[in-house]
């Protein structure tokens, strides 16, 4: 199912449209087309955005490559292609593309007359420089680096045509190229030092990074010479807003209070209870855009004890009571997932039967696994070692409701004898703990367009760290047949064969009890009613403020 922002005001507008069509002019739906608005957009004004995600350490999403970077980079960087709400790949900086018969060579024709905001023209040499930048180990790219894993070389066919030569066919190439982590930046700007480029990346987008006051805000100003909106944009020419102040307010209650007070116009990472409260508040609306790629899941580290034993993994999953917690903590805003993939991924495969709450079976499994004795605190032990599960929690990535859910899992798995050690920590400490293999369970969001995310997350090659030091296969799944299936799925373009292969792969992952799926990666934005024309890009569901204007 494609990403489709469901907005309350839209529903209201449709319900009463017949009787009150004209009087509803002010209640404009938040959609990509801006349909329903009879007002003409207001130019100018400053929009304040408050992010609950971690502040990026680098504004160039080539470096590392996480979601906080994607959120802000969507405003000033653009990709070769994009995706529409139907899931089709549409033109952006590339107007057309052709794939060779063997799937090993792709030609992209670039849009004419596009200039980066430093004046450098967008041409084939620029794209070549960007691929080289992402693949250069010195850049320290993780997400972009993995996505371009099969690109062996690039070749300038003509100033406006760039050829990608692949080592193997890649059915996910176009989907990968829709992502902000593979945005095209000015080659002149990339030549500057890493620090300078991190502070002031230069792209072709509708806004320009003007200033970054660390620990406070990023100021983005309108790109007056903007000419390159994606094919599904609602208008042409420069953006309506003259400025965006991108603030960081990590505390969710403070963020919501700021929105309610009108101090900020849009917030992300909205808490479930505040989403419900916002539904009852006239001045606020919600934009719900679940992220594509993987679902939110707990990965069980099969690379070391205790989870190197499948019985112990299954016992943990059977002992974790998840559904009741989701029901209460998320106030109906999140639906339980039984899949490794997000519900917006058409090839997602669910198997609810594997994840039932069965403490009795869990106890039997642990007995069979040799954890037969219990210590004074009631935890199971084997050869004198307690059944401990170290669980580092990134407080930047897990919202408080999710952290509470983990506490509940800690409490329910304790009943069968697991000692889950929840360790809340900031993002950089969390990355460090993972890099040191200092975890048994972890919840790590991973956003990527398309089912190829499975290859990134569960191919044994992903146990080896990318240049950034991050490795994506946190469950440390190492199954040669799974590697082969995922490899094959990434090469075939036949739809039926591809989906059959991905189903096989997902079955292997789910039935091996490597993960405990929870729900889609939650991505709820709350905005004030006078913010018109905001939509989430269907690629990775980041908000794009190009068509947005302030009705005040």
């Amino acid at each position: 199912m494609p990403v489709r922002p469901v907005i309350r005001s839209t529903i209201i507008a449709f319900a009463t449209a017949g009787a009150l069509a004209l009087s509803l002019a002010a209640c404009t739906p938040q959609s990509s087309t801006g349909a329903g608005s009879s007002d003409s957009p207001v130019r100018g004004g400053t929009l304040t955005y408050a992010s609950g995600d971690a502040e990026p350490t680098c504004l160039d999403p080539h470096v590392g490559g996480n979601y906080p970077q994607a959120l802000v980079a969507t405003q000033y960087l653009e990709e070769l292609v994009s995706k529409n709400t139907k899931g089709q790949i549409i033109p952006w900086l590339a107007t057309k593309w052709t794939e060779s018969k063997d799937g090993l060579s792709w030609d992209f024709t670039l849009r004419d007359g596009v200039k980066f905001t430093d004046g450098t023209p967008l041409d084939a040499a620029a794209v070549k420089a960007n691929v080289a930048h992402i693949q250069d180990p010195a850049t320290g790219s993780s997400t972009g680096y993995l996505a371009l894993g099969k690109v062996a070389s690039t070749e300038i066919v003509s100033p406006r045509v760039i050829r990608f030569t692949l080592s193997q066919p890649d059915s996910a190439l176009l989907e990968s190229l829709t992502q902000p982590w593979l945005a095209i930046e000015s080659p002149a700007a990339l030549k500057r030092s890493k620090d300078v480029n991190c502070a002031h990346p230069v792209g072709t987008g509708p806004f320009i990074v003007k200033q970054w006051k660390k620990q406070d805000s990023i100021t983005l100003v309108r790109n007056a010479g903007y000419t390159s909106p994606p094919a599904d944009a609602a208008h042409h020419g420069p953006a309506y807003l003259s400025k965006i102040v991108w603030r960081f307010i990590p505390d969710s209650a403070t963020r919501y209070a700021a929105l309610k007070a009108g101090e900020v116009d849009v917030i992300d990472n909205a808490q479930p209870d505040t989403i419900v409260a916002a539904h009852k508040t006239k001045s606020l609306t919600e934009l719900n855009a679940p992220r594509p790629g993987a679902s939110n899941r707990i990965e069980l580290n099969s690379g070391k004890a205790p989870f190197n034993d499948e019985k112990v993994r299954e016992a943990f999953i059977r002992a974790a009571d998840v559904n009741d917690g989701i029901k209460t903590l998320f106030f109906g805003t999140a639906k339980r997932s039984y899949s490794a993939l997000s519900s917006v991924e058409p090839l997602g495969y669910s198997e609810p039967g594997l994840f039932g709450y069965e403490p009795k079976k869990a106890n039997e499994l642990l007995d069979a696994a040799g954890y037969t004795t219990r210590d004074a605190d009631g935890y199971r032990t084997k050869d004198g070692t307690r059944l401990t599960v170290v669980f580092p929690v990134s407080t930047n990535q897990s919202i408080p409701a999710e952290q509470s859910l983990f506490e509940q899992i800690q409490a329910t798995t304790k009943k069968v004898g697991f000692d889950v050690k929840l360790e809340p920590m900031d993002l950089s400490s969390w990355y460090a703990a993972l890099a040191k293999n200092d975890y048994d369970a972890v919840s790590a969001p991973y956003t990527k367009v398309g089912p190829d995310v499975l290859r990134i997350l569960y191919d044994s090659a992903s146990i080896t760290p990318a240049p950034s030091g991050y490795f994506a296969n946190l469950a440390q799944v190492d199954i040669p047949s799974l590697d082969a299936t995922l490899e094959k799925a990434a090469q075939v373009s036949d739809v039926a064969e591809r989906s059959a292969l991905y189903e096989t792969a997902q079955k292997t992952i789910l039935e091996g009890y490597y993960i405990l799926p929870l729900y889609d990666q939650q991505n709820h934005y709350l905005l004030r009613n006078d913010v018109v024309g905001l939509r989430a890009l269907p690629s990775v569901s980041t908000p794009l403020f190009y068509d947005t204007w302030l009705d005040r």
Binding site: A253, Y256, Q271, D273, Q408
Partner: protein, 272 residues
């Protein structure tokens, strides 16, 4: 004035004494005051407002807030008392050195204390936690260390005052050895002040330790500890006020009760 026995202060004193007694009961035998398990979760009974079944309501995981507040008294008071003990012991040691030692030692110690005073206490505690990592033990030690300079300065001035008193001069004339003088005359005369400081300090330390837990630097969730409860409930301040109100109330009540008792004792000590 201090002898004016109007009804108001009496009532306040009795209330404070009751609060302290109740807290001590909670700390010593939480199971008697609230027999439930403070960590027991009931996911489907989350966010229930205060009722007869749950006097203080339930939290996001359906844990009974009253039970958690009662069971939180132990850790919270223990942190407060232990931190004060650390602060007082260090303060007495430094203050004695400065107050009774030779002039150069007094000079050195006093300058050291002034440097420490330049840092706000909580900042000093944060610095300590940054180096030794968060947790109940480190936050206790951190609060203790941060309060020590204040105690040291008061102890020093007390020592100086007692040292110059005529009865000590008399003992010097009588040829009593220094240690004997310290033990028999100086310490007992300073003890009254120390006792007042301890009572006042416990209240302050509870607030500080709760602040550190609130900041995620002390007790870890889901431990029943007042500061940690306040921190977890803060997210829901818009929709579930009881999650922050009751832990906040006991922090205020315990700190206020300890302070009022301390002041009363202070008044008595001065008056006698």
């Amino acid at each position: 004035m201090r002898r004016a026995a109007s009804a108001g202060p009496r009532v306040a004193l009795v209330v404070c004494a009751l609060v302290v007694l109740w807290l001590l009961a909670c700390a010593v035998a939480p199971g008697l005051v609230a027999p439930g398990d403070p960590l027991a979760i009931h996911p489907l009974q989350g966010f229930e407002p205060p009722s007869l079944a749950h006097w203080f309501g339930t939290d996001e995981s359906g844990r009974d807030v009253f039970t958690r507040v009662v069971h939180g008294a132990g850790p919270s008071l223990l942190i407060g008392v232990a931190a004060t003990a650390i602060g007082i012991v260090l303060g007495v040691a430094l203050g004695t050195l400065a107050g009774l030692g030779p002039r150069w030692l007094d000079f050195g110690t006093s300058r050291l204390l002034e440097v420490l005073f330049a840092f706000p206490g909580l900042l000093l505690a944060l610095l300590f936690i940054v180096i030794y990592g968060p947790g109940i033990t480190t936050s206790t030690v951190a609060v203790g260390l941060a309060t020590a300079p204040g105690y040291a300065r008061i102890v020093r001035s007390q020592m100086l005052a007692v040292r110059g008193a005529p009865y000590i001069e008399a003992e010097v004339v009588l040829g009593r050895p220094p240690l004997w003088r310290f033990r028999r005359s100086i310490l007992p005369n300073v003890a009254g002040t120390l006792f007042v400081l301890v009572t006042l300090g416990v209240g302050q330390s509870i607030v500080w330790a709760s602040s550190l837990s609130y900041l995620g630097l002390g007790a870890k969730p889901p431990t029943a500890e007042w500061g940690a409860m306040l921190s977890a409930g803060r997210t829901y301040i818009d929709s579930a006020w009881w999650l922050t109100f009751f832990p906040g109330l006991v922090i205020v009540a315990s700190a206020a009760a300890a302070t009022v008792l301390g002041r009363t004792i202070q008044g008595r000590v001065r008056g006698s």
